[in-house]
Amino acid sequence: MTKNIPALISGSNSFCPGCGHGIIIRLIAEVLDEMGIKQQDAICALAVGCACLLNNTLKVDRLGCPHGRAGAGASGIKRCRPDKLVFTYQGDGDAISIGFSETVYAAQRNEKITAIIVNNGVFGMTGGQASPTTLIGQKTATTVNGRTAEFNGMPVDIMDHLRPVPSAAYLARGSVHDAKSILKTKQYIRRAFETQISGSGYSCVEILSPCPTNWHMDPVTAADRIASEVIAAYPLGEIKTGGAAS
């Protein structure tokens, strides 16, 4: 068995063992390779948080945006370089907490960008505090007795907010906890990029991803937790296809 490394990925990354980010970035690189998109033809607007470690991994032009603002940063890039594939790479804290407005308004304004949102249910880089997507009952550094609806509000499903937006042309939620989901997620990323290139509207792929470090689990248990708990709250699949409503 030979080990193929996609052209746009560097040999190493600095993510924790068992983290899903490495898999997801590799999927992006494979999709870019397969679509024949070259280094100079893709631009990534990067989040603050663990997602920013894409900087050392994916070999495309990239902009480090202020926390939460990748949706706006990507929009600015795309409007100045409509000839390029422009996508964000963000965590749930970045895209759904502080950047909720920028995420939803990029869709609302029909920005021809793709948002890739990695949802691991915690603020990873700052030490595992609760995020908007933390599940009810989940213990984090800021929900030490577990999240409750009464104290913390219900978890936020970003797709609930993007689905009704007419100019959201392609929405899907994938996961990287097992091989089958990984292959499906790759397909979603490709369809999202194709949606952008076709000019039919905004696209977003949310990807459930394990964070063994901050979930205080070994990698296998973390992956199992997605299957057994997380998917129930955030069901997988294509949520919207077929282009923007006219």
Partner: protein, 356 residues
């Protein structure tokens, strides 16, 4: 050929003519005409106009456009300008050229929509976090509203820095004669550092990030920052002098207040008073070179600003370098009056005005 234009409109038209490719902003009085004008004019000229959901989205969209190497601008006032500060700090850190317009209004918090000069510290001392400086042009006329926008784009690209145009409510809202600049057509791929632009790339692709965060080049960081800001400080000071050569008292004033100072110089001279004016056209870098010529010669500097508690006076104090006394004339919420200025000058000359 001159024409009559509203200050905000002249500024907006000059941005179009400078080749501004993207404007992203949010309505707030007294800058909204910039937004309104560009909403139809920029698309007509092939650019992109976006009314964003907030000032935050506006400044961050500008970061994206700047990273793509295009001429980009946003504008705001008062609380909206405060919201842009994080993004301005990022622009300074990533070293991206962009123009940010502050049509200053009066007061703290919501304040009021009328003219004021209370944004001096915020614009000149690094309104965002981390200790940056960026060039700040302070127009005092409709003509300069237009000219300084063009200049701001040029300086921004020369140093790869954000640049502020610090206009104000009266210059933005009044009408005046202006000769508009020539239309420029900046090439899209003219910077080899820009994201997506043609040209060779490092193996990892082009990266625009905060200067510290991912490079860990700590040894280079401090000397780099120092040389960068020292170069701007040395090269970019701009000022106007009015009858300064033989003046006993030099007024120091920028923006709208400086125009009343000009009137006061005229009236004062007709009364036999030897007064003149130094008008900073860049408030950062502050034109210390102008003061070096007069330190030790004048009997005092009188800082005239439209604000309750003076701000610019601190730069005047530093520029005077202990070689001339500095006097304050904050005019609160009122436009300065020539009579008051002349009374202050007389008081300086007869020794009855308190040194700041």
């Amino acid at each position: 050929m001159k024409q009559l234009m509203k200050g905000n409109n002249a500024l907006a038209e000059a941005a179009v003519r400078a080749g501004c490719r993207l404007f992203a902003g949010y309505p707030i009085t007294p800058q909204s005409e910039i937004l309104e004008y560009l909403s139809w004019r920029l698309p007509q000229a092939g650019g992109e106009f976006v009314q964003t959901e907030s000032e935050l989205a506006g400044i961050n969209m500008i970061i994206g456009g700047a990273a793509a190497g295009q001429r980009v601008m946003t504008s705001s006032s008062g609380p909206g300008f405060s919201l842009k500060q994080e993004g301005i700090s990022y622009l300074a850190s990533i070293e991206l050229p962009a123009v940010i317009v502050d049509v200053a209004r009066f007061g703290i918090g919501l304040g009021d929509v009328t003219v004021g000069q209370g944004d001096y510290f915020q614009t000149t001392k690094g309104g965002g976090h981390g200790g940056y400086f960026i060039p700040v042009y302070a127009p005092s006329s409709i003509q300069e509203n237009a000219d300084f926008v063009v200049k701001a784009f040029e300086t921004a690209e020369k140093y790869r820095t954000p640049v502020i145009v610090l206009s104000d409510a009266s210059i933005g809202q009044m009408c005046g004669s202006v000769e508009l600049p020539e239309q420029q057509y900046p090439k899209r791929d003219r910077f080899d550092w820009a994201l997506g632009a043609d040209g060779d790339r490092p193996p990892m692709g082009r990266k625009m990030t905060d200067r510290m965060y991912t490079d860990f080049a700590y040894e280079e960081y401090v000397p780099h920052i120092c040389s960068r800001y020292n170069e701007m400080k040395e090269n970019e000071q701009l000022w106007e002098e009015v009858q300064a050569e033989d003046a006993e008292v030099l007024l120091v004033s920028y923006g709208i207040s400086s125009r009343i100072c000009k009137e006061a110089v005229k009236i004062g001279r007709s009364l036999g008073l030897k007064l003149g004016l130094i008008r900073p056209m860049t408030v950062w870098p502050f034109p210390v070179k102008a003061f070096r010529k007069y330190n030790g010669k004048v009997k005092g500097y009188l800082a005239v600003e439209m604000i309750p508690i003076p701000q610019m006076i601190e730069d005047v104090y530093l520029a005077a370098h202990g070689a001339a006394p500095v006097y304050a004339m904050p005019t609160g919420r009122e436009i300065a009056s020539s009579e008051d200025i002349i009374e202050n000058v007389k008081a300086i000359l007869n020794g009855t005005k308190e040194v700041y």
